[in-house]
């Protein structure tokens, strides 16, 4: 980062600080509202106009976790997100290495295919997937979501890791090849250890996307493999909505995502634009 030779005028600085505080408020306020609503009793939550100062209670949390089975759905989400991420990394890393190091025909088409996977609406695959899965009796299983989430996780992992492998100096490859090492050896023992940051970032992405996903979960699960977002949505039935419970569930869903997103915040733009903007 460079320094300005002459700092901005004090008045300009004041405006700058004010505007930044405004941006922070704009971004953070809904989260504040989510958490405070989750700490209200149903009677308080249905106060009109809404109250800002009240005695917080954790009743919603104990109710959704112990009575409504949100805990189980959180575990389902965790199992699915972790498994699909592990699979994506396992399959994606060698592919990324190949894309970074080898020249071959059809490479451009592969890139194109991955980009399309990033952009296509999940409904396009949800329709046939539902019919197929129903036919082979796998509806409402963890496996189905683990597999279908690979359609967006695998391209992301391959994408980010390819970038990472490219940044590993090629000299290392050449030296190892002169020693007679096989490509697999070079990948495993030399390049992969140096690509750990990329693997970590892409794992975080894969986890966040899987954890956040709703449409496939809605269409392909019922009870057994129901994920937490699908559970949160099912509270939305009926007339007097249990706002406190909905917001408590939402808070529980959002916490891990926010932690991971903040960890990977430096790489978020690159990941979301598939590397087009560094």
């Amino acid at each position: 980062m460079r320094n300005a030779q002459a700092g901005p005028a004090p008045r300009g600085m004041g405006v700058q600080i004010l505007l930044m505080l405004l941006v922070i408020l704009f971004c953070v306020f809904p989260f504040y509202w989510m958490v405070t609503t989750s700490l209200k009793t149903q009677i308080l939550a249905l106060e009109s106009p809404p109250v800002w100062i009240f005695e917080p209670t954790l009743a919603n949390y104990s109710e959704v976790l112990l009575k409504d089975g949100v805990g189980t759905t959180l575990i389902n989400s965790l199992i699915i997100a972790v498994s699909t991420t592990l699979l994506a990394v396992l399959l994606g890393c060698p592919a990324a290495y190949a894309l970074a190091r080898f020249e071959f025909r059809g490479k451009r088409d592969l890139w194109f295919w991955f980009i399309t996977n990033r952009m296509v609406s999940p409904i396009v695959l949800a329709l046939p997937f539902f019919l197929i899965v129903r036919k082979i009796g796998l509806l409402d299983t963890h496996l189905v979501l683990i597999l279908i989430y690979l359609t967006f996780n695998l391209p992301i992992v391959i994408w980010i890791c390819t970038d990472q492998f490219r940044s590993v100096p090629y000299d290392l490859n050449e030296a190892a090849m002169l020693e007679g090492a096989s490509q697999w050896r070079i990948f495993r023992s030399i390049c992969l250890p140096l690509a750990v940051p990329g693997v970590a970032v892409s794992s975080i992405f894969s986890f966040i996307f899987s954890w956040n996903e709703l449409m496939y979960a809605l269409v392909l699960t019922r009870n057994n493999a129901k994920t937490a977002p699908a559970m949160a949505v099912s509270f939305m039935e009926g007339y007097n909505l249990p706002y406190g419970k909905i917001m408590a569930t939402s808070t529980l869903i959002v916490i891990p995502v926010i932690v991971f997103a903040l960890i990977a915040s430096k790489h978020l733009v690159r990941g979301l634009t598939m590397g087009a903007v560094k």
Binding site: M20, C27, P30, L127
Partner: protein
Amino acid sequence: MPVNASSGTIRRSTILAFLGPSVVTLLVIGIGPLLYAVWTSLHYFNLTKLKKVKFIGMENYASVLTDSVFWEALGRTFLLLVISLPIQLAIGLGIALLLHQPGVGFLKTLTRLSLVLPMATTYAVVGLLGQVMFNLKYGVVNQLIGFVGFDPVNWIGDPTNAFIAITFWDIWQWTPFVALVLLAGLTTVPSEIEEAAKLETKRWFTVLRYVQLPFLIPALTAVLILRTADTLKLFDMVFTMTRGGPGSSTELISLMIQRVGFRSFDQGLASAQAIILLIITIILSQLYIRLLYKEV
């Protein structure tokens, strides 16, 4: 046939061993179902009348193309895009310029971290939060606009207002993304050029227009295409907030296809709609890759 790498040759079987597993996986879970969707789209296929499945050729496509519901949903999706994208670009550019200025390092980091929150948040939760905050009686939005003298607005229950509410919510969630992408673009401007320009003129707009803008083109292109694709994908947030209603006032294209396929059970028609949506997406992806990845 061996293919040349920059030194030595790498056998085709080696390349296959590295790439094969993921390509095969994506073929099985991605392309396979897609082909099945094409097959479904050529049939009369209703989940409640599975005995009556029969081949009807392009009939589903013909009904999609002449169906006003489809075009209205597509039109609504693009309406959302043309309203929210310019606002996201304007505010996003403002935030990016704000953060690009020197000074107040700590607050800048804090701002950047807060920008990460909206776009990472589970889209379904964003929609639920919208439900709660935009509620007519219990919502904080009506309370806040009440402070500045507005009457409470029936956001979710009125067709036009519901559309405004989801547009506002889309702007809330994605302006930070636009801001961060543009900020990344701004850092690609060589600092000597920028400093020199700032010595030449005091007007920030001149600097933006003639010095920074040319370097922002890739970031702007990425935003334009990705936001288009993401709006065509948009489902979770709107579904949890309004279910596409009231009426069909917030039924975007992905919601409409989901309703036809899973709530009207007409899988054949829905598949035809999905394939048309896929074709639009493929054209967008082509644009993305042509304009942004010159080296691959």
